[in-house]
Structure formats: structure tokens, C-alpha cells
Amino acid sequence: MKVFYPTTLVIVLILSSLFSLTSTATTTKTKVCDVEGKVYIPGIRRPEQVKILLNGGEHTAYTLRNGEFKFSSIESGVYFLEVDSKNYAFSPLKIDVCTKGQTIRAKTADETFKTVRHPLKLTPYSPKVYYEKGQPLNPLKIFKSPMGIMIAVSLFSMFILPKLSGSIDPEELKQMQQENGGGGLLGKLLGGVANPQQSNSGR
């Protein structure tokens, strides 16, 4: 008569359960989902054809005439979606493709973190501007600029400064010239004397 060992039964059970686990693991297929969407460009009925890239070109799709696009049978996971448009700037998206159930969730992959519903509605946030526009002529800016200040100073020294010096009492003017000693540029300008010795001799 054969003796039945309970330990062997346990081992067999464990092994069989392990086997079943591994077999299920190998037989389970990876989930696949379709990612769909449409590119809208405000004010344009038939938008330009753009290329949509997943993970930098791992999957690519082109928009059709009506702006729709579709990625078929995309394995579950998180993807990075980019819109390759030459005229419009789109926010890239981070897409969660059926990692939880059959749902596809998407968020903008920049600072905005906006949630985008599936099917994805992609709208540009701005037209692409490659060139900086030259600034129009602004008189205020001219006067704020160093050149404007130069004009102002030179005009002041030409027209207003002589009048200011004319209104000063002659004695006060002489005193000012003495104090400045005729050495500084301002002194020369105020006194209008090129040689300080001349001013000394005049005293």
C-alpha cells in the first residue's frame, strides 16, 4: 500500500499554481487601443495636413482632409504626442493609453497641464512666428534712448544754458567761476573760458 505524504501534495499544489501563473502570464496579450483625434484651427475649415508623432516618431499619423487622425492598435502605456505643424504651435500631450481599463487620458505636457478628452481635440495655442517684427517708430522711445538723451542734453546746452547763465547775477557768476577754479568741464561751459589762467588774470 502506498503512503500518501501531505508535503508532496503541498509541493505539487504550489508547483501547479506557479505553472498556472506563468502560463497565464505568457498567454495574456498586451492591451491595444486606438487613439483618435482631430486637429482644429480656428477660422480654417480645412486645416493644413500635419504629422502627428507618438514618442518622437515611434508611431506616426497624418491628418486627413477634415483634420482627423487615428493611431490604430497602440499598446497600453504612456506616450508623448507631438504635432508637427509648420504654421501653428501645439502643446504636446502626454497620453495614457488604456493602462487602466479601455480609457485614454491625455494631458498637455507643458506647464499648462490641461486635461484633454478622448477623442483628442487639438487646437494650436498660437501661430508659429519665426521672425521678430521690427518695432515701429515711437517718439517717446527715441527720447528714452541714449541718443535721445544726447539730443536733449545738447539742445539744453545750446539754447537753455546760455539763458540761464544770462539770468545769473554777474557777481554770483564770478563766484561760481572762482569756486570751480575753471578746471572742470562744467566750469568751462558755464564760464565759456578756455584757459583758466585768463579767468584768474581778469579778477
Partner: protein, 1055 residues
């Protein structure tokens, strides 16, 4: 007062003159398509040239000028299998999906995934509203609009082995050619659409499974008694409905199957299985032996059979052209004529006849089998001989432009018919692709001058760039002026004219450069020139006048006048002065060296190196001085790591880029190059002269090659180089990566006896090694450019010219590690591990910063990181004591500061800008997956950036943001995509603020960029109108003052 005004004016002029014009070199993209795999001519309504290329892309070229109309590049992960184009539509099949493309615009009309599990054999043929896909067991008719299966016919895989597919577009019928596996005899499946039945049917449903009325399938096999085998690919003569195939084993005959009779038999047959007897015609001259026979092309009147013989290292091929006629009475074929062509592909030339032009290759072509042309293009050493056979006549033309030394052998020939000028006349053109990947459109039937033979040429070699050098044109012109005039070569002018005649006038600048300055010289050369050249030159100078005058008068004065004006008009003085224009010296894998002028946006010279004899390839290019470059190549596709065991020999070449000639080219059989570096020599400032008084330009740099035997070689091998190396050998540290053992080795040079300086060359020795784990794949080694940075520590910034940075990738752990190693001591200065990371990743090392990017697998965005190296001066006493004399033993401790950012785009490659004195802000050029080149200022990558706005403002930094800015104005290539970028290189210009950038891959792009608009450059905000107004106001004030000086009041006030 006057002094004040003049001072003010001077100040303004000084400010204005300090700023340079904002005009620079224009951004230019040289678009490429690559090596053609297959082509469909007459695509779309404009008869475009539809090409599928090796670089996984399809494109449409304009037949008139070869310009790219559109192109679709597929990712490397999506493999392009086949494509086809007709007048109505083009269909592209990849391993994932089928794309239906509008042939004129390139717009994808429809794309859908397919479920072909195995595409062992697949062909596409487009009809008007459908296309046919033939798999190894199914023939599918798919609708163009939806991609749904219209009809589907299955055949037994066990019985029928697919060989070829022929399509008769006129009757929408398909002939599938195969071999009956049991009988080993040819079998044909003939499918004809049931048009009448289709009309009564309701419109097809969207589901693929429901298939409409199947086309009638007639299965027919040749008479089993005949025992004919199908060894070669058959051809279909469409207009005559004849299938033509060759049986080579038994009968050495050509067999003809009349499809009309098969159809009539099939209609009467009940089981749709017809056994027919073929008409067989024995072919003369086809001898038995080790040979392979094939019908390569046919027309309505000719067919060509190629016989290849294999021997010991010798491949001989012969071509026989047969002219035939369908006899009305017996319905049989009559052989009219045959001609033999020989083609020796052997290495050893066998002289025949007179010994002139002995070696020749031939190529037959005919795309449209209903046309009346079969063309043979023969290539000799110096010319092409094109012979066209039609039912009526034979046209023979010789073109002596295509020298085999310049272009290599012919790769492919296609025949194209299109209207060039007149609407009525359709001309045959030949699309010829050569070994150097250049594509040319050639015509022989035009009744004009021979120069009109070549309609256009595309240099596709630029898609195969291995390495390139950026050479300032400014320095190059110094030598050009002295040498070019002495070597005024009429042949060269003729060649350049032939290409340039139909191009824009701007591109003609180089031609005028070559014309000598003095009138006597011009006279002399024009006397030597043929009338043809004279006429061409004259036509360029004044095309309107030339058209009026049938005769020719060469006016030397006029030529000089035009030359002067030309320079005034087109010479960009600023570009010359500030060195914005460069010469790119490019090496390609297939052995070509090109000089590409950025000012002219085209290849201006090319040199073919003799590497094809050993099936070698070029690997690296170095600059020796302003005149000479050095090139290293290898045989058997061995890379420079020396890991390929098949590698046997190393190729070196020295080229004079001013005179465009090879100084030296040599194969070294004894050793294989492991690694090569360029070392700068100490400049003694003396350039000696030779016996004739000519200036000798000494090498500024030498190339040091370490071979697999542990020995080293210095090039160029001169006494001066050896002496100079003797002075600097102890500073040289040679880092080599051995991929087999995954080890990094550093060699340095020592001498056995230091006192014996002469006749005792230094020997390389391993100084240190770094063993990496097998899982760690070293993807990039970035060596600091020692010439750029000082060996000093300024403001606590750690500068080390002998430092390398490595980027390793661990696929299993998904980590990217950055290692910073001091090459002298072998010490690891820094080790940064990044988790959840994958390739693509690039590292760039400049100043005391390391910038790298990788793809974040968790964040699903590109992560950009910066590591700043700071010298921890207080930690080392030695350093404080020996600040002036820094030794490696007492280098300061290094502190690493790291910061990471997210960049919302997929980055493939990164490059860094160079400026003349390294004062200007650095710029990082990022090649994005969308084809954009994004310029990112270095100021965004600073580990000191803090979240606290006030603190950041105090430090003069930008506050920290997780995302780096991504604005369109920073895209330097604007809306012209640059695809598949392999590398980005940079060079400085004469202006500190401006850097020259080159990005190459499938396309070539170059431009001058200004990162922060400062120093010597007017910024974009500069207002020129404000400057003018200021000037005007000051002038008016000056005039007013002049008048006011007579006023007494003013005088008294001033005095």
C-alpha cells in the same frame, strides 16, 4: 560749442560703425533624398519622378530640374517595404500601414493599418480606383479611398510559389507568375475583373471581411511534357499581351505566352485550369556553363538577355539584344537581329583590341514595356555611350562629361518621357544614378548642342556624410589668389558651365572668380577655348544680345566689365570680412571628398579617393593646416574602434584643398587603426620657403593614429612633425574605447631614456583603464577642446582641458550615467546616474559645464540636465599655496552642481555653438524629431537658478522653471525641416557674437546664429529710424547754431 557738436556726432558715428549690418549668410537647407531603391517615373499629372530611397523615405522630384516637390520620411522603427506611383495615385506600404498619397501634392489621402503578419513577398500596383497587393498566399484588390478589400483571392501556398507579378493596367487584369511546387514547372494565375457583374452589386460595405464579387481566376500551366522551368523573371509586353520568359537550363530559349489565347481558352474551360503549349524560340550564342541568364528588359520590338558567368574572382557578363517581330501568319516570333555587349567586372583588367577604353560597363533600361525604346548605357573610363533601339532606328550618342574617376560606376538607369518645352514633342530622358549617389537627367535626342545633354544633376552624396570640416573661406582665399590664376583650366570652366548654364546667375560667381584679372591672360585663354565655350560664356554674359546675334564675338573688355560688376553686385563684403561664409570639406562613406561652399550653396569641387578597390569606406577627417587635410579610411567596413575582426587594412590620404589634388593616398596592410586624434603643434611662426621661393605651409596639427598592435603613427610623416612631437609627447593622452571588453584605456607616451632625445622615439603605454559592466553601453565620449579653455580656475569655476565626459546607457536598468574623468590622473571627477532614462542622449562639454539630454521614460519628455564644475579651492592646501603652478597632484577638489529641466519635445541630437574668444553666451542647438533645429541659450541652463524670484534677480539669473522655453522664434531653420540629423557642428566667425552652425543628416543645413545679441552686433530691437532722426536733429541744430553765432545776445551770454 562746435567741439561739443563734433564730439556728439563722432560719438554717434562711432556707435553706428561699431555695429555691423544685420545681414548675414542666409539660412540654407540642402535637401537630400539619399540612395534610390526604386523609382516610378511619370508619377502624378506633372509626370514627376517618384523615388523610394534607402533612407526610409519616398519623394517626388520635378523632372525639369530635379527639385524635391514633397517627401515623406518614415521613422526608423517603421520600415518602408515598397511603394508605387501612377498618374492617379501613389501607394506606400510600410510594415505597419498602407498610405495612399496624392502624387502631386504629397498629401496623405488615407492611411490604414494592415494585418499582414508576414510580408515575405508583397507588390503594389495601382489601378484607377484600387490597388493590388500580392502576399505569399493572397491577392488583394483594395479600394484607394478606404483601403478596404474589394476582392480577395487565395491560392494554395503549398502548391504555388510566388515568383513575380505582372499587371496589365489597361484591362485591369493581373498575372501572377509562380512555380508549381510539385511539378516544378511555371504556373500562371490570370485574374480579370468582372466588370459587368460588379455593376449590379450593391455598394461595398466598410467591413473588410465582406468581399465583393471575386475576379475570375484562370490558372494555367505550360505543357507538362515540355518540362520547361521558370528560372528568370518574366516580362509582359502589354500592348501585345505577351508574357515573355526565359528557360535557361534545358533549351536556352525564350518562351512566349500569348495571353489573349489563354483568356479565350480559359473562358471556355470549366475548371479554370488551362494547360497550354508555349512557343519557344532558341537563342543563339548562349552557351552552357556556370552562367545565369535573365531577360532584363524588353520593348515592343526588342528584348535583352544578360548572361553572367562566375569564375574564380571573375564575373563576366554579356548582354544580347534581340529584335523580334510578331508574324501575322503563324503567330510566331521571328528573330531579326542580335548584338553582343561585354562587361568585365573583374579587378584585373584584360586588355582587348587597341587597349583604349577597354573596361566598360553597360546598363539596359526601359521602364515602360509598351514603349518602343530599349536603351543601353555603356560606361567607359571617360564617357558614357548611350544607344537607343527602337523598331525604326538606332540612336547613338557619346557624352564625355561623366568620368568614372569622378562619379564611379553606374548604379541605375531609368528612362523617362516628358515634355520639356513644346507640348507636342515628348522626349526620352535618362535618369542615371552613379556610385557616388549623384543623380543626373540626361537627354540624347535633342537637336541642340552637346552641353544641353545634361538637364540637371543632384548630389545625393550629401545624405551620406560621415564627417566634415569647417574651413574659413577667408584664409582659403589667400592661397586661392596666388594659385588659381596660374592654373586657369579651360576644361574645368567647361565642366562648371555645363552644370551652371541653366541655374540662376548668383551661382555663377565662382565661375567669374576663376577668370584671370589681366586682359592679356583672358585673351590668351579665350584664344585657346573652343567656340562652344566662348559661346556659352557669352550667352551667360548677355543672353538677350546673344540670342539676337547668330555669330560670335568675344569682347574681352565686356567680360572684364561684367566681372567687375558681378563682384560689386554679388560679393557680400560683410560675409567675407566677418568670415560668415565657410568651405565645408565633406567626406562620404563611398570615398568622395567634397568642397561645399556655403556662399554658393553647392559643391564646388570633388575628389574621389581610390577606396572602392578594397570595398573600403572613409571614416574620419582632420585639418593639418589651412591648405591640407588628412583622411582616414578602412577596408571591409571596419570601424575605427578596431573591433571588427575582418578589418585588415587602413587607408590614409592627404589632400591639398587649394589645388584640389591628392598629395598622398596609401593603404596600410600591416596594421589597423584603433583610434586617431589630432594634436596641435607649437607654432614657431616661421613658414619656410622652398628652393623656388614658394612658401611652404607647415602643419599646424598632426594626426596621431594608434593601431591594433599597440604602436603609433604620425601623419604627415616629416622630420618637422617628428621633432615637434618630441617636444609635446609627454602632454598627449590618448583615450581609446575597446568595445569588445567594454574597457576605456588611456595611453600616454614615454621614453626609455630621457637623456636620449634623438633617435629614440617615445612609446605608447597604458596609463590607466576603466572597466565597465557589460550592461553599460558607452554611447558617447566627449573630449574637451583643450585649445579653447585655460588651465586655470577663475571665480571658483573648475576648468580642466584634460578632461573627458562619458555617457553610458544601461538598457536593463533604464539608466543613463554621466562620468567625468581626468585623463591625466584617471580619476573620476564626477559620476551622475539618471534613472528612468533611455536613448537618444547626447552630452556636450564646454567651459566648466556639462550639458546632456536623454529621454525620460517615466516623465515621457526630454530631460535636459546641466552639471557645473566648481573648484573647491579651500579644500586643498596645495592649491592655495601653488596657485601659479598647478600640478595634477594638487588640483582642487571639484564640487558638482546639477540642475534638470524638462524640454517639451523629442530631441535626437545636440550640438553647442563656438565663438572666437569664448566670451559670448553659448548656445545649444537641439535637433528635434519634427525636423526643427532649436537654439537654446546657455543662460537657461544654470544650476544657480532658484525658485525664489527675488534671489534670482539679485544674482542676475532667471528664476527656475521646470520647463525650458519652446518658442518658434528660436527655431533656426524656420519652416524648412532638417531630417535625420546625425551631428551638429559649429565654428566661430570673426565676430564674437556670431557662430556658424552646420547640421547634417538626410539634409544639410548651415547658418550663422547669434545667441545673445550683444558685443559687436546690433540687436533686433535696434531702431535705425531713431538713429537717422537723431542725426537729422543734430545737423539742424548745427546749422541753427551757425546762424545764431552772429547774434549779439548769444555772444554776450557766452562770453
Amino acid at each position: 560749442m562746435k567741439i561739443l557738436f563734433t564730439l556728439a556726432l563722432l560719438l554717434i558715428f562711432f556707435q553706428a560703425s561699431f555695429c555691423i549690418s544685420t545681414e548675414q549668410t542666409k539660412k540654407r537647407v540642402h535637401e537630400g533624398i539619399g540612395e534610390i531603391v526604386r523609382s516610378d517615373l511619370e508619377c502624378g499629372s506633372s509626370s514627376g519622378i517618384f523615388v523610394q530611397t534607402e533612407s526610409n523615405m519616398v519623394a517626388l522630384l520635378k523632372p525639369k530640374n530635379g527639385e524635391i516637390v514633397w517627401k515623406h520620411k518614415f521613422n526608423e522603427k517603421e520600415k518602408l517595404i515598397t511603394s508605387t506611383c501612377s498618374h492617379h495615385s501613389s501607394v506606400v506600404l510600410t510594415d505597419r500601414k498602407i498610405l495612399v498619397v496624392q502624387p502631386n501634392t504629397g498629401k496623405v489621402l488615407n492611411e490604414f493599418n494592415h494585418n499582414f503578419n508576414t510580408i515575405t513577398f508583397s507588390k503594389l500596383r495601382t489601378g484607377k480606383d484600387h490597388f493590388v497587393v500580392v502576399l505569399d498566399d493572397t491577392i488583394q484588390y483594395r479600394e484607394l479611398k478606404t483601403g478596404n478589400i474589394k476582392y480577395s483571392t487565395k491560392y494554395s501556398k503549398k502548391e504555388f510559389e510566388l515568383a513575380s507579378l505582372l499587371l496589365n493596367e489597361e484591362s485591369n487584369s493581373v498575372v501572377v507568375v509562380g512555380i508549381n511546387k510539385k511539378r516544378k514547372t511555371p504556373e500562371f494565375l490570370y485574374l480579370e475583373e468582372q466588370k459587368q457583374k460588379e455593376k449590379g452589386k450593391p455598394k461595398g460595405t466598410d467591413k473588410e471581411k465582406k468581399v465583393n464579387q471575386e475576379p475570375k481566376l484562370i490558372k494555367f500551366q505550360v505543357d507538362s511534357d515540355n518540362k520547361i522551368k521558370l528560372n528568370t523573371k518574366p516580362t509582359l509586353l502589354r500592348k501585345q499581351s505577351i508574357v515573355l520568359y526565359l528557360d535557361q537550363e534545358r533549351t536556352k530559349s525564350v518562351n512566349f505566352l500569348d495571353l489573349n489565347s489563354i483568356i479565350s481558352q480559359g473562358k471556355t474551360s470549366k475548371d479554370n485550369n488551362v494547360i497550354i503549349t508555349v512557343e519557344s524560340l532558341p537563342l543563339k550564342n548562349l552557351k552552357s556553363g556556370n552562367e545565369n541568364l535573365q531577360i532584363i528588359t524588353s520593348s515592343s520590338s526588342h528584348f535583352v538577355v544578360v548572361q553572367e558567368q562566375y569564375g574564380q574572382g571573375l564575373t563576366k557578363s554579356k548582354a544580347f539584344i534581340y529584335k523580334f517581330k510578331k508574324s501575322n501568319k503563324k503567330n510566331s516570333i521571328i528573330l531579326i537581329a542580335e548584338k553582343e555587349y561585354n562587361n568585365n567586372k573583374s579587378k584585373n583588367k584584360k586588355e582587348k583590341g587597341n587597349g583604349k577604353e577597354t573596361e566598360s560597363t553597360f546598363w539596359f533600361s526601359n521602364q515602360r514595356s509598351d514603349s518602343d525604346f530599349v536603351t543601353c548605357v555603356q560606361q567607359t573610363e571617360t564617357k558614357l555611350i548611350i544607344t537607343s533601339y527602337s523598331s525604326e532606328k538606332t540612336i547613338n550618342e557619346e557624352i564625355d562629361y561623366f568620368k568614372r574617376n569622378d562619379y564611379g560606376k553606374i548604379k541605375n538607369v531609368d528612362l523617362l518621357f516628358f515634355n520639356l518645352n513644346s507640348k507636342k514633342q515628348i522626349l526620352p530622358f535618362y535618369l542615371i544614378e552613379f556610385e557616388d549617389l549623384s543623380l543626373h537627367m540626361v537627354n540624347i535626342n535633342q537637336k541642340t548642342t552637346k552641353t544641353k545633354n545634361i538637364l540637371w544633376g543632384r548630389e545625393e552624396a550629401l545624405t551620406d556624410i560621415i564627417d566634415l570640416l569647417i574651413i574659413p573661406k577667408k584664409t582659403l582665399n589667400i592661397y586661392q589668389n596666388s594659385n588659381e590664376n596660374n592654373k586657369f583650366d579651360l576644361e574645368k570652366i567647361k565642366q562648371s558651365l555645363q552644370i551652371k548654364i541653366d541655374e540662376s546667375k548668383k551661382k555663377m560667381t565662382s565661375f567669374y572668380d576663376k577668370i584671370p584679372k589681366s586682359t592679356d591672360e583672358i585673351k590668351k585663354h579665350f584664344n585657346l577655348a573652343t567656340n562652344e565655350i566662348k559661346q556659352t560664356i557669352y550667352s551667360i554674359i548677355n543672353p538677350s544680345e546673344y540670342s539676337k546675334q547668330p555669330g560670335f564675338k568675344m569682347d574681352v573688355k565686356k567680360l572684364n566689365y561684367v566681372k567687375k560688376n558681378w563682384h560689386l553686385k554679388f560679393e557680400d563684403s560683410n560675409s567675407q570680412k566677418f568670415d560668415f561664409n565657410k568651405l565645408l570639406v565633406i567626406i562620404t562613406r563611398n570615398g568622395n571628398v567634397y568642397g561645399f561652399s556655403t556662399s554658393e550653396n553647392q559643391i564646388i569641387w570633388k575628389i574621389r579617393l581610390p577606396i572602392s578597390e578594397k570595398s573600403g569606406s572613409l571614416d574620419q577627417i582632420f585639418r593639418i593646416n589651412d591648405k591640407q587635410i588628412f583622411i582616414i579610411g578602412s577596408s571591409n567596413n571596419a570601424d575605427l574602434d578596431g573591433n571588427n575582426k575582418q578589418s585588415k587594412s587602413t587607408f590614409i590620404a592627404m589632400i591639398d584643398i587649394v589645388n584640389k589634388e591628392i598629395i598622398e593616398s596609401k593603404w596600410f596592410e600591416q596594421w589597423t587603426a584603433k583610434q586617431a586624434i589630432s594634436i596641435g603643434l607649437k607654432d614657431d611662426g616661421d613658414d619656410d620657403g622652398d628652393d623656388n621661393g614658394n612658401k611652404i605651409i607647415r602643419p599646424r596639427k598632426v594626426v596621431l593614429i594608434l593601431d591594433n598592435q599597440g604602436d603609433y603613427h604620425l601623419f604627415p610623416k616629416t622630420e618637422y612633425v617628428l621633432k615637434s612631437f618630441d617636444l609635446i609627447y609627454n602632454q598627449v593622452h590618448f583615450v581609446v574605447m575597446n568595445k569588445e571588453t567594454n574597457t576605456l584605456l588611456c595611453y600616454h607616451f614615454i621614453k626609455d631614456d630621457l637623456f636620449k632625445t634623438t633617435d629614440n622615439p617615445p612609446k605608447p603605454e597604458i596609463k590607466w583603464t576603466k572597466q565597465f559592466d557589460k550592461k553599460e553601453e558607452v554611447t558617447q565620449i566627449n573630449i574637451n577642446d583643450e585649445s579653447q579653455y585655460p588651465d586655470k580656475h577663475l571665480n571658483n569655476n573648475y576648468y580642466n582641458p584634460y578632461m573627458i565626459s562619458l555617457l553610458t546607457y544601461n538598457k536593463e536598468e533604464k539608466t543613463i550615467t554621466v562620468l567625468i574623468i581626468d585623463t591625466v590622473s584617471g580619476k573620476i571627477i564626477g559620476n551622475v546616474k539618471n534613472y528612468d532614462a533611455s536613448l537618444p542622449a547626447t552630452i556636450q562639454h564646454y567651459a566648466n559645464k556639462l550639458v546632456y539630454h536623454y529621454w525620460g521614460t517615466k516623465v515621457k519628455t526630454t530631460v535636459m540636465s546641466v552639471i557645473e564644475l566648481k573648484a573647491n579651492a579651500f579644500s586643498s592646501k596645495h592649491y592655495r599655496q601653488n596657485k601659479k603652478n598647478i600640478l595634477y597632484q594638487n588640483r582642487p577638489m571639484v564640487t558638482l552642481k546639477k540642475q534638470s529641466y524638462l524640454f517639451p519635445s523629442y530631441v535626437n541630437v545636440m550640438g553647442v555653438s563656438k565663438s572666437k574668444d569664448n566670451v559670448n553666451q553659448k548656445g545649444l542647438v537641439l535637433a528635434l524629431s519634427t525636423g526643427d533645429l532649436f537654439l537654446l541659450s546657455d543662460s537657461f541652463l544654470n544650476p544657480e537658478r532658484t525658485l525664489n524670484v527675488q534671489n534670482a534677480m539679485k544674482l542676475g539669473l532667471m528664476p527656475y522653471t521646470t520647463y525650458l522655453p519652446h518658442q518658434a522664434k528660436n527655431i533656426i531653420n524656420d519652416n524648412e525641416p532638417v531630417l535625420q540629423v546625425k551631428d551638429i557642428k559649429s565654428d566661430h566667425t570673426e565676430i564674437e557674437s556670431t557662430s556658424f552652425i552646420v547640421a547634417y543628416g538626410l539634409d544639410l543645413f548651415y547658418d550663422c546664429v547669434t545667441i545673445d545679441q550683444s558685443f559687436d552686433k546690433i540687436d533686433s530691437q535696434f531702431n535705425f529710424s531713431a538713429l537717422i532722426i537723431t542725426m537729422l536733429v543734430l545737423i539742424i541744430a548745427l546749422i541753427a547754431m551757425q546762424r545764431m553765432k552772429g547774434n549779439k545776445n548769444v555772444k554776450t551770454n557766452w562770453n
